[in-house]
Symmetry: C2
Subunit: 372 residues, 2 copies
């Protein structure tokens, strides 16, 4: 966040900054969604909706799971939320009590950790690196599990590494957590942005698996603040109460507009955008390696590369500021995602055009050579 | 909430239900706001905004305080939030630690109590009734204050009673809380809907007073999920971090649209709507008294009447269900707002037209007479 603030300040002062620190797609909402929003503005009063969201949107998400993922998830188990942040508020708020422990990988997306702590739970970091695809192993989970541990939070694809967890490994992890009597929550916010074979949702593995997702990334609707959570039936009543108390209901216009997100023509457009992200990845990863960054694994999803930068500096935070000030390229230092090997890593977000990525690579190359 | 669920179920089954249980204005957003939303949809990418909201909206709120309330509040002390729920999340999240005590009146709006509890604070109820305008007194606060108490939460106008706290009494309360070393948070969500002389914001009383407000009630933008909080400068950084972690940023389109909420023509329209609410109040209060409800105080604001119903039943919850099933009028039982004299009260929301209010009064009169 510090880098981003400084980047916008430099930009406001007239500097040309290439933003590779922002976890936000550059395409905006699909035109079908925008058009549906116009219609809803003209025809709906936009009052509160049900706390768990419009029934027809919950149904649309249910059909999406059936059509795209081949998994049956009744609408009653789906809560539409205020962003995926809202999904985590409901899931962690209904699952965690003060003093409970939640396991999660380090590095990982920091807000989820903070939401768990807002409910006075303790988060326990499982250090991960490229050797396990930046995903924890069942063995790690078993070792870290205590009488206070309530569950495990994973993300596939992960942020910051963009790595996915293989079906078989996820199944083993679900079995492990089940045998320990805990819950598993899989953050699938980047699932639509997976570049290999069609991904499976963790929901395949049983009705006890909890999954969060969002309209922000694959669907390009960041500022619309809309996400969802799929949970076991017995959690829904508690999550409904939490939603009523914490935010009343998700934004109404966003919900009406999101009904257009699942139309075949919208999905076709979104898949084209996903392919553009893949082309950016295919440009970025080899070029970063050429410059001298260490990228041991090609990320399979999201729009991030988590690159080792020890070759250039022992302190990725200082390096990020140097590259921002001297090369005009904004990157996120590893410390934003945890502490494990954080000072040896930078996260690159390929949420800008191919041209800008190429320009960024040239600038980085020049600056890093001049530092040697 | 139970009554509301049942009311919508009956309606879906074909019954004509008069909704006087809903805390939502029936006018919808002003056309100026809707038009501005159309424009923003066509011209903005609607990505995340700053966590504390669009700078130009924070400036607009600051000017609104200067123009309408004659109080200087710099934009830096204003955070735009996801509904007033978001305002409470930021304020209470940054002010309360586990085990801290928060004083609040009983009856009062239940969600704020639940948000305080989500942060593992203890809420301590101050029983209030018509004799003090449903507002606590400095003496009550002093008696309830312990070493664990961190602050006091008030609402003016209050929900469910619609009563305001007089300037002099609020000043005395602020002094009391200051002398005890605590914070005071004044919920001004219904302030725009005050029917007497122009209300003063509690912000007049010092830069240490915290105020929450919303675009949902006076501005008619419930489903847009937009509110704000004004806080001392030293809290803003902590609230910014909380906003980033708990919901990233408030809905973007709602923020752009809300820029039109402060235009003179919009405010003129909103003041007309406020006058319509006053006419409804002036119809409802005497009619309820005629039927036999006890309404010792004429509410000065909001769109609620908190009416005593002991004449008809010792159990307002059972009575609410009886009146829903037998008369098709949905009301909120006192237990939704606390426990003090809760079974002796029903809340009437005059968020439906004069015609419907008259019809409701006829039905209630018939049903209650038949029960005698």
């Amino acid at each position: 966040m510090e880098v981003q603030e400084r980047a916008f300040r430099l930009q406001a002062a007239g500097r040309d900054i290439i933003h590779m620190e922002i976890g936000q797609p550059d395409f905006g909402a699909p035109p079908q969604v925008v058009e549906t929003a116009h219609q809803a503005l003209g025809s709906q009063r936009l009052g509160y909706t049900s706390a768990l969201g419009l029934p027809e949107l919950r149904e649309a998400i249910s059909r999406f799971y059936a059509d795209r993922h081949g998994v049956r998830v009744p609408a009653e188990r789906i809560a539409v939320t205020t962003g995926s942040s809202g999904a985590f508020l409901l899931a962690l708020g209904s699952l965690l009590d003060p003093g409970d422990e939640l396991l999660l990988p380090d590095p990982s997306y920091p807000c989820n950790r903070h939401i768990a702590r807002a409910f006075e739970a303790r988060t326990v970091a499982l250090p991960v690196d490229h050797r396990t695809g930046y995903q924890p192993t069942p063995e790690q989970v078993r070792r870290a599990w205590t009488s206070q541990t309530r569950g495990l939070l994973l993300a596939s694809p992960s942020n910051p590494a963009g790595t996915t967890i293989a079906d078989r490994e996820l199944a083993a992890m679900v079995d492990t957590v089940r045998s320990l009597g805990g819950f598993i929550l899989v953050d699938e916010i980047y699932q639509g942005l997976t570049y290999g074979p069609a991904p499976h949702s963790a929901l395949h593995l049983g009705d006890d698996v909890i999954v969060t997702n969002s309209f922000s990334k694959y669907f390009g609707m960041t500022g619309w603040r809309l996400g969802w959570v799929v949970a076991p039936t017995e959690l829904m009543r508690e999550m409904e109460k939490l939603a009523q108390n914490l935010y009343v209901s998700p934004p109404s216009l966003s919900q009406y507009a999101a009904l257009a997100a699942f139309r075949p023509d919208t999905l076709a457009l979104l898949d084209e955008r996903r392919d553009e992200f893949r082309r950016r990845r295919d440009l970025l990863v080899p070029a970063l390696r050429d410059i001298g960054f260490s990228v041991p694994l090609v990320p399979q999803g999201a729009f991030y590369v988590y690159a080792g930068c020890e070759q250039f500096s022992p302190d990725s935070h200082a390096l990020a500021f140097d590259l921002l000030e001297q090369a005009g390229v904004a990157l996120t230092p590893g410390m934003d995602f945890g502490s494990h090997q954080a000072s040896a890593h930078l996260r690159f977000a390929y949420t800008c055009s191919m041209d800008r990525i190429e320009e960024a690579l040239n600038r980085l190359d020049r600056r890093l050579k001049s530092r040697l």
